[in-house]
C-alpha cells in the first residue's frame, strides 16, 4: 500500500485540510508519503510533517511550482504512477491538481470525501451527495485511487512527533503547463472585525438583492448584538470584502447564533458555518438547501423580514 498525500501550502503554512488528510491516512497504519511542491522549500519545514504522520517527504522544488496547479501535476505524476492512493485535502489548488492528475493517469476520483479507509482490499471513500441527503461509498477500479476531501472534514492535530526524512525529486514541466502565469495577488485586507470571534453573525447572500441593502443587514446585526458576514457570491461580485466571507475559501465560524439572509446554503458555504449553535435561515425559495440544516427556516422575502425582525427585537 503506497499512499501519497499532496500537501497544499501558502507562505510557509500548510493547508489545514491537507494536514488533516495526512493525519487521517497515517492513523490507518502503513507508510504515508507527503508530497510538497513549490519554490524555495525548506527541508526542515517539510520534514516537520513527520509530526502529522508522514513517514517520508518528497520535495519538488522549482520556480514553476509556485501556486499554479498544472506544473504541480507534472511534478506529482511520476510518483503518483507508483502509488496505490493519492490523497488531497480540500483547497482550490488541490482540487485542480487532483483532477488534472486523474485525467493524466486515467484514474477515478472521489470528491467531497468525508471519510476513507485504506487496505489490502482497496480504498473505500465515503461522500455525502445530493445536497447531503445520501452517503455514497465508492471503491476504485484502477490505480492510483484519487481522493479529494471535503473542507473541514478532517481535523489537523499533530498525531506524532519528530521529523520525517526528506527526499528531493526532479521536476519536468510540460510545455502547456507554463502557458499560465501568476500575475499577482489581491490580498484579503487585514484588520477590522474578526468574524471568527463573534457570538452572533448575521450573514447575507445574493438574495438581499444588492449592496444597497447591506445597511438593513447591519441594523439586524446591531439589534442582535452581532457582526455581519457574507457568502462568496457577494464577495466575488464586489458587494463586500473577502474578510467577511464564510465558507470553504473563506472563514470557518462557530457563533452561538447564525442568521442566514438570502443565502442558498451551497455546500461550500455550509462547511464554514454548520457548527454554529443555532442556525436561522430566511429565504424565499422553499427548495433552498439551507433549509435542510437550519434550526429555524423562515420562508419569505428577506427584505421584508429583516426590518420587521429588527423592529421586534428593539421592542423587547
Amino acid at each position: 500500500m503506497a499512499t501519497i498525500v499532496f500537501m497544499d501550502h501558502d507562505e510557509g503554512a500548510f493547508n489545514p485540510n491537507s494536514l488533516g488528510v495526512l493525519a487521517k491516512a497515517a492513523s490507518l497504519g502503513g507508510e504515508v508519503t507527503a508530497f510538497v511542491g513549490g519554490s524555495g522549500i525548506d527541508d526542515a519545514w517539510a520534514g516537520g510533517l513527520g509530526a502529522y504522520g508522514a513517514s517520508r517527504v518528497l520535495v519538488a522544488d522549482d520556480a514553476a511550482l509556485a501556486g499554479l496547479p498544472q506544473p504541480l501535476v507534472d511534478a506529482l505524476e511520476p510518483h503518483a504512477r507508483e502509488a496505490d492512493t493519492v490523497l488531497f485535502g480540500a483547497g482550490v489548488v488541490s482540487a485542480d491538481v487532483a483532477a488534472g492528475l486523474a485525467a493524466r493517469v486515467g484514474s477515478g476520483i472521489n470528491c467531497e470525501t468525508t471519510d476513507f479507509t485504506l487496505g489490502e482490499g482497496g480504498v473505500v471513500a465515503v461522500r455525502p451527495a445530493l445536497g447531503d441527503t445520501v452517503m455514497v461509498e465508492s471503491t476504485f477500479a484502477s490505480s492510483p485511487a484519487i481522493i479529494l476531501g471535503r473542507a473541514n472534514a478532517f481535523a489537523s492535530e499533530p498525531t506524532g512527533s519528530g521529523t520525517a526524512p526528506v527526499e528531493r525529486v526532479a521536476v519536468t514541466v510540460q510545455e502547456w503547463s507554463s502557458a499560465a502565469r501568476m500575475a499577482g495577488r489581491e490580498q484579503a485586507e487585514t484588520g477590522g472585525v474578526d468574524i471568527t470571534e463573534a457570538d452572533v453573525l448575521v450573514a447575507f447572500g445574493r438574495g438581499i438583492g444588492g449592496p444597497e441593502n447591506i445597511p438593513v443587514v447591519e441594523q439586524l446585526a446591531k439589534a442582535l448584538g452581532g457582526e455581519v458576514a457574507a457568502t462568496r457570491a457577494v464577495v466575488d461580485a464586489g458587494w463586500t470584502s473577502y474578510s467577511m466571507q464564510v465558507g470553504q475559501t473563506g472563514k470557518t465560524v462557530s457563533p452561538k447564533l447564525y442568521v442566514a439572509c438570502g443565502i442558498s446554503g451551497a455546500i461550500q458555504h455550509k462547511v464554514g458555518m454548520a457548527n454554529a449553535g443555532v442556525i436561522v435561515a430566511i429565504n424565499k425559495d422553499v427548495n433552498a438547501p439551507i433549509f435542510e440544516f437550519a434550526d429555524l427556516g423562515v420562508v419569505g422575502d428577506v427584505l421584508t423580514v429583516m426590518p420587521k425582525l429588527t423592529e421586534a427585537l428593539a421592542g423587547r
Binding site: D10, E137, A180, L309
Partner: protein, 261 residues
C-alpha cells in the same frame, strides 16, 4: 476567435433528487434544466462578443441524454450559435474520468480558442471537471474565475483561493471555469427563444466523436459506487411561512427559547 461553453443537463431544482437503488445512478426521469452554473459560462461568452472581441462562434457542448435537446434550446436562446449534443446510451454511467475524456474528445474538434465551464454541476456537486478537461486538451487552466478580460491572445482572470484573490494570465487557447458571481445572466427574449429554433443542433454518438467505448459509461468508470445509505439522523428544523413580515414575533420567540437573545 471561437468559444466553446460546456453545458450540462441536470434535474430541475424543483424535482426530487434521488439515486436509483438498483443502479446507484442519479434518477434522471424527472424534469431537467440547463445546469444554472453553466448559464454564467454562456453569459460570459456573450459578454466577450458584446465587448467587441471578434467572437466568430459560440458553441455549446453537452454530453447528455437525447432529452437534453430541450434544455439546450435555452442555450441557443441565450446566445449560443450552435449546440453539439454528445449522446449515446454507452455514455450513461460515466464517472468524472470518463466524462472529462469524452468532453475533451468532442471539444478537440470544435477549434475553440477558449473553453468555458461552470464552477460545478448542481447534480454532482464536484468542481473539478475544468481541470480534468484542460489536462486532456493540454491547455492552460484557470478555475473559479470571478472576473475575466482578454487582450490579444492572453486572458487575465481573477479567482478566489483560501488566501484572497490570485490574478492569473494565460495564453490562448485556454480552459477556464467561471464562478457563479462573474455575471448576472440575462433572460432570453421571446424573439431569441423563437430564433433558437432555427439554429443548428448537431447530435453525435460516441462512435461519431471517436470515443473509445472502453473508457466511458458504466464499464469504463474508475470510481465505482459500492453502497448508498442515509446520512446520520439529525433533528428536523422548525419551518415558518412568512407573509409581509408577520413571522418576526415567532422568530424572536424562537431565539429567546434557544437562549441566544
Amino acid at each position: 476567435m471561437n468559444i466553446a461553453v460546456c453545458v450540462k443537463e441536470v434535474p430541475s431544482a424543483t424535482s426530487a433528487k434521488r439515486l436509483d437503488p438498483s443502479t446507484y445512478r442519479l434518477d434522471r426521469s424527472g424534469d431537467s434544466e440547463l445546469n444554472p452554473f453553466d448559464v454564467h459560462g454562456l453569459e460570459e461568452a456573450i459578454k466577450l462578443r458584446e465587448a467587441g472581441h471578434e467572437v466568430e462562434e459560440i458553441v455549446a457542448v453537452c454530453m447528455g441524454r437525447e432529452n437534453a435537446q430541450r434544455p439546450l434550446q435555452k442555450a441557443l436562446a441565450l446566445g449560443a450559435d450552435r449546440v453539439v449534443l454528445l449522446t449515446d446510451p454507452a455514455l450513461a454511467g460515466s464517472d468524472i474520468s470518463g466524462t472529462a475524456y469524452a468532453l475533451a474528445t468532442v471539444l478537440e474538434k470544435q477549434n475553440a480558442d477558449l473553453v468555458i465551464l461552470g464552477q460545478q454541476a448542481s447534480d454532482a456537486d464536484c468542481y473539478v471537471m475544468a481541470a480534468a478537461v484542460a489536462d486532456h486538451l493540454r491547455r492552460p487552466l484557470v478555475t473559479q474565475v470571478a472576473s475575466l478580460s482578454l487582450e490579444g491572445g492572453t486572458l487575465r482572470a481573477k479567482r478566489q483561493t483560501e488566501h484572497g484573490y490570485d490574478v492569473i494570465e494565460a495564453t490562448l487557447p485556454a480552459v477556464i471555469s467561471v464562478s457563479d458571481a462573474i455575471n448576472t445572466p440575462r433572460l432570453p427574449s421571446i424573439k431569441a427563444i423563437m430564433g433558437a429554433k432555427k439554429k443548428p443542433t448537431d447530435q453525435v454518438s460516441a462512435a461519431d466523436a471517436g470515443i473509445d467505448p472502453s473508457r466511458v459509461g458504466e464499464g469504463g468508470a474508475k470510481s465505482v459506487v459500492r453502497s448508498v445509505s442515509p446520512p446520520p439522523a439529525k433533528q428536523e428544523g422548525r419551518r415558518i411561512e412568512d407573509t409581509g413580515g408577520d413571522s418576526a414575533g415567532a422568530i424572536v420567540e424562537f431565539l429567546a427559547e434557544r437562549g441566544v437573545i
